[in-house]
């Protein structure tokens, strides 16, 4: 018996060694240099993840490959949660994809370290003219354009149409959103036992508060003579104060949504517990896919303060500085992001295309239904915000702003204490 056990063990070991040998032999040497002959090969790291978006990306790449035998693009799937670590190691190790999908607020760091090419020198003027200068600014760092902004995300309000009708609240037109006062008053009307007017999903509150603070010209980050500091005045306090009031004073917003992300509020929304969800324009995708049969929802335009301004943090496509084929990569980008293709990509992700023509085509294509008219209109309110350009923002956000805002929204600290913590945090991380 002992002998047979030993034999089995030895056999397993032998199989493993042989297997490993085979793996080594078969393992593709992806790191091998390309041969000088044959088509140019480009790697495209995409973060598309929604079903339709994934399909749109793959279809476009396949179409390009069929039409351009001399420039072949390999579609490589990444994911949003780990892409930063993946890129850091790839850049450091010198083995990054030629074309990289990410977002404007995150590529500045890579651009300043010299890992991303200046796409403004590679793209044609015609192509650049399709996108507003304000949107290009979001991806411009030290006068270098680090990526092509192609998809925008705005904050709108998704509402339960039947509950609005029952409360006698009219749906505003796409270009005529409610003021904050109107939004708060309507949320109050929609509040009754077992039902809240709104659910603010504030699990990650910083980006959202800083985005919406622009409604009252709240900038948070102020630069003077090369030095940046955080200031929290009345303009910065307005939006957090209003949200806090809805939760604790008028009680028209659900306190239980504080720890939720946008999608977590959907069961309550579909169940009639919350009448309105202030959230991303991309939430519409889940409405279409997951709303119960017969559930009527509408997209309300962004809320207005002094303006409807919000921070634009577009998704971007960058070209790696290390790419041996930057010119061909730019050629692919111009084709990949032409108006028709950009509209298809935006439709797949339920986001707003940055290209003016693509935006118009998308509204035509969808007849403005499912909130596409509101989404298209909201693009005009998106602007570059000071926090997007501040070097220490990610650290300030994680270490100071998010905990402070979470404490404030949990009613643990006052508005003034919130302001003090945000300013003090700024002193720690900003130089």
């Amino acid at each position: 018996m002992l002998r047979s056990r030993f034999r089995r063990l030895a056999a397993a070991a032998a199989v493993a060694v042989v297997g490993l040998g085979a793996l080594t032999a078969c393992g593709d040497g992806g790191g091998k240099d390309e041969t000088s002959s044959g088509p140019v090969k480009l790697r495209f790291l995409s973060l598309a993840w929604q079903k339709e978006s994934l399909q749109a990306n793959k279809d476009l790449v396949a179409k390009w490959n069929a039409e351009h035998p001399d420039i072949q693009v390999e579609y490589v799937q990444g994911d949003w949660n780990s892409v930063h670590d993946q890129l850091v190691t790839s850049f450091e190790g010198g083995d990054v994809a030629d074309i990289v999908h990410y977002e404007a607020s995150a590529i500045g760091e890579f651009s300043k370290q010299g890992y991303l090419a200046d796409v403004s020198k590679l793209l044609s003027d015609d192509f650049k003219g399709q996108i507003d200068q304000g949107v290009w600014d979001t991806a411009t760092f030290d006068d270098k354009v680090a990526g092509v902004p192609f998809l925008l995300e705005s904050q709108v309000v998704i509402a339960n149409k039947k509950l609005l009708d029952a409360a006698g609240i009219a749906v505003p037109p796409a270009d005529g959103g409610w003021t904050w006062d109107e939004f708060q008053a309507n949320a109050q009307k929609l509040t009754k036992p077992g039902q809240y007017g709104a659910a603010w999903a504030l699990k990650s509150p910083t980006n959202r508060v800083l985005n919406l603070a622009l409604n009252y010209d709240g900038k948070f980050f102020y630069s003077d003579g090369g030095k940046t500091e955080v200031k929290v005045g009345d303009a910065e306090k307005e939006v957090p104060k209003r949200i806090h009031d809805m939760i604790y004073t008028s009680k028209s917003a659900s306190p239980e949504a504080l720890g939720m992300s946008g999608a977590d509020t959907l069961p309550g929304f579909f169940g009639g517990k919350y009448a309105m969800l202030p959230g991303s324009v991309s939430l519409r995708q889940q409405m279409v896919e997951q709303a119960p049969a017969g559930f009527e929802w509408v997209t309300l335009p962004p809320i207005k303060g002094l303006s409807s301004k919000q921070a634009a943090n577009p998704q971007t496509l960058s070209i790696a500085e290390d790419s041996k084929h930057k010119k061909q990569a730019a050629q692919f980008l111009e084709w990949f992001l032409n108006p028709a293709n950009m509209a298809a990509l935006a439709k797949g992700d339920w986001l707003v295309p940055t290209g003016k023509q693509a935006n118009e085509e998308l509204v035509k294509l969808t007849n403005g239904k499912q909130g596409w008219d509101v989404a298209a209109d909201s693009a005009a309110d998106l602007t570059v915000a000071p926090f997007q350009k501040a070097d220490g923002y990610p650290e300030w956000k994680t270490k100071y702003a998010t905990p402070a805002l979470q404490q404030y929204f949990a009613n643990k600290i006052t508005l003034d204490q919130l302001g003090t913590q945000l300013v003090d945090g700024g002193k720690q991380v900003l130089r």
């Binding site: 018996m1 002992l2 002998r3 056990r5 030993f6 063990l9 397993a12 070991a13 199989v15 493993a16 060694v17 297997g19 490993l20 793996l23 080594t24 078969c26 393992g27 593709d28 040497g29 992806g30 790191g31 790697r43 993840w49 929604q50 079903k51 994934l54 390999e74 579609y75 490589v76 799937q77 990444g78 994911d79 949003w80 949660n81 780990s82 670590d85 993946q86 190691t89 790839s90 450091e92 190790g93 083995d95 994809a97 990650s204 992300s261 946008g262 999608a263 959907l266 069961p267 309550g268 579909f270 169940g271 517990k273 991309s282 889940q286 896919e289 997951q290 709303a291 119960p292 049969a293």
Partner: protein, 279 residues
């Protein structure tokens, strides 16, 4: 020392055990339920355990969109190779550490423990550069090498504990009976170490099967991706997930570990040494 449990005591034991099993099994049952739910059933205010309209659409999506079948096969190859190689390397080393106690051995064990404290991110770039230098970046062989190195410290600790539990007297008795050193190892030590070897292999297999970060960074070619990397693609911006396909894929991901454990668990049963030495 302990008397026979009373009828009530035994009932309470069973109740506690059943409760514990339900607690442990619930996530798996919920995963199973979610994997078969259509999108509209995933976001109900009062979710049900049994899907009203069960569907296999989540599995179809998971397999067609992210090549999960291929990814699972990749994970299986890498994990099996890692498990067997880890045991092969750890076995002689752990025997030496347990039986020949020297100052060097003590220092080596301390270092092994200390090496566990280095964070992933500190090591990943040097590892990547080294693998690239030797032509093993973007290969399963490179990944297996890293997994073996990564699992070895714990495997060594684990196995040398098992070796120490084997009474030296057994080996001495075999020697007295005329067995050579190799025969002692083959016929006495290794068979008694079987539960330890199985436990170590299981640990190495599961740690390789679940590993995400090295697989993400070291393997670039889509066809070589492992299962955890493929599954991560169902999670989008700010943690929003496509729950249905993710659950279907995750269910698939738990199966090999469960099967491997079910097959091997017999080997894990303790008590093989009971009565080996009368004292």
């Amino acid at each position: 020392m302990f008397g026979k449990p009373s009828h009530t005591g035994r009932t309470l034991q069973y109740v506690a055990l059943t409760g514990y099993l339900i607690f442990l099994g619930f996530p798996l049952v919920w995963l199973l339920s979610t994997a078969f739910k259509p999108p509209r059933e995933l976001v109900r205010l009062h979710p049900s355990l049994i899907p009203s309209n069960p569907t296999v659409q989540n599995f179809v999506q998971a397999f067609t969109e992210q090549q999960l079948g291929r990814a699972a096969l990749n994970s299986l190859q890498v994990s099996l190779a890692s498990a067997v190689l880890t045991v092969l390397v750890a076995l002689p080393a752990s025997y030496a550490l347990a039986r020949f106690r020297t100052r060097l051995g003590t220092v080596a064990l301390g270092w092994v423990l200390l090496s566990q404290l280095f964070p992933f991110v500190l090591l990943i770039i040097p590892i990547f550069l080294i693998l690239r230098q030797v032509g093993l970046a973007n290969t399963h062989a490179g990944l297996v090498l890293i997994y073996v190195v990564w699992a070895l410290p714990f495997a060594l600790w684990m196995l040398q504990g098992f070796v120490r539990n084997i009474p030296r007297e057994l080996e001495e008795a075999a020697s007295v009976d005329g067995a050579s050193r190799l025969q002692v190892l083959r016929r006495v030590v290794f068979p008694l170490l079987a539960p330890g070897i199985v436990a170590t292999a299981l640990f190495s297999f599961i740690s390789a099967w679940n590993e995400f970060f090295f697989a993400l960074v070291l393997v670039k070619t889509p066809e070589l991706a492992t299962l955890p990397v493929a599954l991560a693609r169902f999670v989008g911006i700010e943690g929003t997930a496509r729950l249905g396909p993710l659950a279907a894929g995750s269910l698939l991901a738990t199966l090999p570990s469960l099967i491997f454990f079910a097959v091997m668990q017999r080997r894990l049963s303790s008590g093989s040494l009971a009565g080996a030495v009368k004292g």
